[in-house]
Symmetry: C2
Subunit: 345 residues, 2 copies
């Protein structure tokens, strides 16, 4: 195998394939480890009634964020959102976070204070405690590593793997805004780089840009599901685009699915701005990501509990695995669902 082929194969595996490949030979020895690699969080059994949930995320400058347009305060908020979102995706309550920071010497203390102000705001919003972490220098760029810890009642835990054929798929909030927010920020960056005298005017794009810079994880909806007495059969948060997340649920649950294009929820600004970028809202929804909304499935007999609820939109259902995974478009043509997501390789 020559070098090019080797490099190509890591790109082809992508993030999920790679971690699966590398960890496939690991076994779990301790009875306390309930699940390891392969869900939003690791699950540990430390207590009679509750599981401990642990999620881990790494955020790297110029891969996951661009400090030319991401203010550090909003970055601090966002990394916490993204991390606690994994806890909510398992129907849990986030309780603590740890943050590891690698910073190059170009960052003044004031910049790090800004970052931690965002972290503090997020901790207050989600009611989690910052309980530790470490800081060191980095040779280049900012490195942020976040570990979130939470809990969930054993009877309420929701894995990716619990979906069954005929379960209804629902999504919270609306789709595509963070992706368009990113397009706007990238466009303004190009304009600024070509002429630094032109200051970006972003206020008219507020609803889109804010969703990109400061997404909110749906703690409120985990609480709402509880008050509806509804335990989803499977759940995941949307970080990599709807299609990628639907396929994760299908794969873990060993089911097929049908998603309806005309059911997908959009904000009116998404419809308007997508046209501006010559994109369809559908593309933004399927392959965008970073909404940190919840994608979940419920049993048909539970559907009445959530039907018509303004926070959730039914978008399709699970089928048996051999029926495949499809998107039904507005002209009722069926297309195989494929993931693009954020393939950083």
């Amino acid at each position: 195998m020559n070098k090019d082929e080797e490099k190509k194969s890591i790109e082809n595996l992508g993030e999920f394939g790679l971690i699966e490949h590398l960890t496939s030979t690991f076994t779990q020895e301790l009875s306390k480890t309930v699940t390891g690699v392969g869900d939003d969080c690791a699950v540990i059994d430390r207590n009679e009634n509750e599981y401990t949930l642990i999620s881990k995320e790494l955020f790297l400058e110029n891969i996951h964020f661009d400090l030319m347009y991401v203010p550090l305060k909003q970055l601090g908020f966002k990394v916490v959102s993204a991390s606690v979102s994994d806890i909510y995706a398992m129907n849990g309550a986030a309780e603590q976070i740890l943050i590891g920071l690698g910073v190059s010497s170009r960052f003044p203390i004031e910049a790090l204070e800004e970052f931690y102000e965002g972290v503090r705001n997020a901790c207050a919003h989600y009611q989690v405690d910052l309980i530790g972490g470490d800081t060191s220098s980095s040779a280049k760029g900012l490195v942020v590593s976040v570990t979130a810890i939470g809990k969930v009642e054993k009877s309420s835990i929701t894995y990716r793997k619990g979906g069954k054929p005929n379960d209804i798929l629902l999504v919270s909030g609306d789709l595509g805004r963070p992706y368009l927010g990113l397009q706007i920020l990238e466009r303004e960056k190009s304009v600024f780089l070509s002429n630094p005298n032109i200051q970006p005017e972003l206020s008219q794009f507020d609803t889109l840009v804010k969703k990109q810079l400061m997404p909110m994880a749906r703690k409120d909806l985990v609480d709402l599901l509880k008050s509806l007495d509804l335990i989803p059969t499977s759940m995941i948060d949307i970080s990599d685009g709807l299609s990628s997340e639907v396929l994760h649920l299908c794969k873990a649950s060993k089911v097929g699915c049908v998603i309806y294009e005309n059911k997908l929820p959009y904000h009116e600004d998404t419809q308007l701005m997508a046209t501006d970028f010559q994109l369809s809202p559908l593309t933004c929804a399927l392959h965008g990501g970073e909404e940190y909304e919840l994608l979940l499935s419920v049993k048909p007999e539970d559907f009445d509990k959530i039907k018509g609820n303004p926070y959730f939109t039914p978008i399709g259902y699970f089928t048996s695995e051999d029926q495949g995974r499809y998107l039904c478009d507005t002209s009722e043509s069926y297309h195989e669902l494929k993931a693009q997501g954020w393939r950083h390789f």
Copy 2:
């Protein structure tokens, strides 16, 4: 304040000062959070009899390791050692780890497989489960983030803060070898860079180089302390050099100390090789680090339990805080103890 002054202040704060500064205004809201920032691990109360311990470490290429001479397999082992060591330092048992990896596309899959083989060997050695993590690309260099999870009986937890005047200070193993191993590797790297035809001959330095590349965390000694029915009053692992760690214990415990130069334990190769590098073994011990040995204090009335034990060496004792923190050299002169450690800023 001009830019130079700002940058200088971050360097002056150093790693420990910086994280303290940035997190000083965070409060712990949840009753379950026992301690946050400021010990080897965060401590969470989830269970009647045990605490959950969580440590987090970030390892960055060209800051914490140099892939010119660190084989990836040994790096995989070392990052696990360094992380579980924080759990042992609180007298706990490590149970799970999560690993986040940022890799640039220059790494072939085979290289990552090597890394994970080292991780797997370490998991087997320390009997911990790898339960999760994520992998993404990095713009430049290898980023490794490790979270370790463990437990400790509430009655046995050992903080940094529990030391009292007259407690005896002991250290496990010997000091200075990893630092000399690093000097050897750096020297061979320079030789190789100036003439790539000269292959480094490292086998004669095995005991030193191996301690640098593949340090062992002292799980065995936590088990030994238990069998001796001995709970230290304070404990820390040696990652940043003895002086830095002694000062951490003194600060947290609000005590002073005296350390005796002639009591510090060295391997015979440390004595030999230090001369070669025109260093004193004392300098290697005080300011080297990465031994991952344990530094602990015990009550005077407990000293008989550990006196003469071949795994631990008494090196001094705590005094009252106003008596200061001193090293007593071989000519019985007293020098104020100062930390250099690995200040990466």
